[in-house]
Each structure stands twice: as structure tokens, then as C-alpha cells.
Symmetry: C2
Subunit: 197 residues, 2 copies
């Protein structure tokens, strides 16, 4: 039974554990204070490790932020995939996916991390690449089916712009906007686009 009492942990286990502790502690502080107002000594204190561990696992502070943001994006992806997994109809998948997106974005800190901090810390390209995997497929799929006469470049662009609207809606909701209003308007928006065939 592999002697479970602290002794003789495998390297992989040690590694995974301290990485996880760092990412969790960093997430909390980045959410509370933002990237540049969070100091590495605070992070490691909260994680109960040393700065040496941090710089062993991550290239620099921004690299740690990247890891945090990636975890967050993956969690969102997982949630959306799980919700839409059994929805066959493309149009229904868009609705379900959209609701799942808003649902996932309610988790405290996600908006702050992915939409406010990430673009500045990682740059726009890297930031959208993170959320690129979030329900975009369902949206893209639905749009290209509904608008077959459009070129793929146009569909891509349209997906991108609607995706930006989704992001803004989530942003406004976390800043006190009425969730129902924004969801309705968002669905209205998509509805009009789909109708426009």
C-alpha cells in the first residue's frame, strides 16, 4: 500500500502537489488583487511553499498566471462540453451551449481572470486562444449550417464577433447587469442572425 505517511512520495506526486498549491493560491490572489498588485511572496506564503518552488515550476510570474488562466479555461470547456454532449441538433446545441457558457461564467473570479487580466498579461492573441475552445465550436457549427451562402472567412468573423458579445454579456452580468436581460438580448441577437438566412 505504498506507505502513505509523507515518506517516499514520487517525484511526479510532489511536483503535481506543489504546482496545484501554487496555482490555487495564485488564483485567489490574482482574483482579489489583480496580476500586478499580487506579489510573489504573498502567493508562496498562501501556498505554503517558497519562492524557489515557484520559479522552479514557472518561468516567471506571468507564466504562473498563464497556468491559472489555462486551468480556468479548461474548467469552462469541460462544463460546456458536458452540457452539450448529448445534444444532437446543432441549433439546440447553440442554445444549450450558450446557457452553459453563462452558467460557467458565474463562478467567481472567472471574468476577472479571463476577460480583464488575461488580455493585458498574456496579450490579446493568447487570451482569445484560451477562450477559443469555449463553446465556439457549437456557435461556429450552428452559424455555418444556417448561413451556407457565406464564405468561411465571414463565418469565422461572425463567430468571433458574437463570441465577443457573449463575453461582454458575461462581463456585465458579473458587474451587476440583469442576467435575464442579457441572456434574452443575446439569444435575440443570435436568433436574428440565424433567421437572416
Amino acid at each position: 500500500m505504498t506507505a502513505e505517511k509523507t515518506a517516499r512520495r514520487s517525484q511526479a506526486d510532489r511536483r503535481a502537489e506543489t504546482r496545484a498549491k501554487l496555482i490555487e493560491a495564485a488564483r485567489e490572489l490574482f482574483v482579489d488583487s489583480g496580476f500586478s498588485d499580487t506579489a510573489t511572496p504573498d502567493i508562496v506564503r498562501k501556498a505554503s511553499v517558497t519562492r524557489g518552488a515557484l520559479y522552479h515550476h514557472f518561468k516567471d510570474k506571468a507564466d504562473l498566471f498563464r497556468a491559472v488562466a489555462e486551468e480556468e479555461a479548461k474548467a469552462i470547456s469541460r462544463h460546456i462540453d458536458q452540457e452539450t454532449r448529448n445534444v444532437a441538433d446543432p441549433e439546440q446545441a447553440m442554445v444549450t451551449g450558450s446557457n452553459a457558457f453563462f452558467d460557467a461564467m458565474l463562478v467567481p473570479g472567472r471574468v476577472r481572470l479571463l476577460m480583464e487580466e488575461a488580455p493585458a498579461v498574456l496579450g490579446h492573441s493568447a487570451a482569445v486562444a484560451l477562450t477559443r475552445a469555449n463553446g465556439t465550436e457549437e456557435l461556429h457549427e450552428g452559424l455555418s449550417r444556417a448561413l451556407p451562402e457565406h464564405t468561411s472567412k465571414h463565418i469565422d468573423a461572425l463567430t468571433n464577433l458574437l463570441s465577443a458579445a457573449f463575453d461582454r454579456a458575461a462581463l456585465e452580468i458579473t458587474y451587476g447587469g440583469d442576467p435575464e436581460v442579457y441572456k434574452e438580448v443575446m439569444h435575440h441577437l443570435i436568433g436574428e442572425v440565424l433567421k437572416g438566412k
Copy 2:
């Protein structure tokens, strides 16, 4: 004739001049390196003033950034207002305003400052407040005329979401996206929404 040879400048003139120098130097560096990778000693060196002057005029580095961003937003506003000034028809004003927006956003650095850095440095609310004055009136006006059956809350939200799409389009264009494609899709998007009456 107020002795124009460096001597005896008015306080207001001194003030305005060093403020302008600081804002201009800071703008260049913030655009090139981002907010947190720009150091105040570099800013004042480029502006040919001292750090004392900087902290006399601005509360802190973020306050200087705010001034830079405000200047930028005002410049955009001026350009849009100028272009739409003589357009009476609300629907035409939306088209003209939209083109003016994209035009204004082509000025190097604007996207970086207002859309990438500002949300992280000033927070989302302050950042959107800056661009709130940018062509939003034309958009809001056009939408509420075309969709009279919607509540004002819904019109506000719709304006906000379309505004986010505009922003994303400008962002993608500066990152190499095809301007024509994004403009077309943006106009298509608005067209569908207006039609949907």
C-alpha cells in the same frame, strides 16, 4: 508681448506643457511595452522632466495612464462626432458612425491602450466608461428607433453587446484580420438586428 524667450512663462503654460510632454512620452511607452513593463524613470527621461514632475501632476502611474487613455478616447470621440455631425438620418448616422469608428481605431496604439491595457489598469467599468462616449449614441439612437417595442433596458443591453462586437472587430483588424470582412460582417449583423423589427 509677454517675453517669448523661455523666461516668464505663466504657471498655466508650464503646467500644460509638462503635462503634455508626460502624456505623450507615456503614451509611446505604454503602447510599446504595456503598462506594467513601462517604468516611470523611462517615461520622465523620454519627456525630459523629472519624476518629481510626474508625481506632482499625477497621483501615481495608473493615474498617468488614465490621463493617456482619456486623451485617446477624446480623440476618437472628436473624430466620430466630426464625421457624423451633418448626418441627419439616424440609420445613415449609424453607418457613418461605424465607419468613423473603424477609421479612428486604425491609429496605432489605440487598440492596445483602450482595449488591452485599460481594462486591467483601470478596471472594466472605468474602461467602458471611456469608450462609452464613442459612437454609442448613434447606435443607441438607431436601435431604439428601429425597435420601439423593446424596453429601454433591452436596448441598452443590445447597444452594449453590439458595441462589444465593434470593439472586437477593431481588435481583430489591428491583429491582422481582414478589415473588409469584419466591416461587412459587422454591418450585416446590425442590418439583421434592425430588420428584425
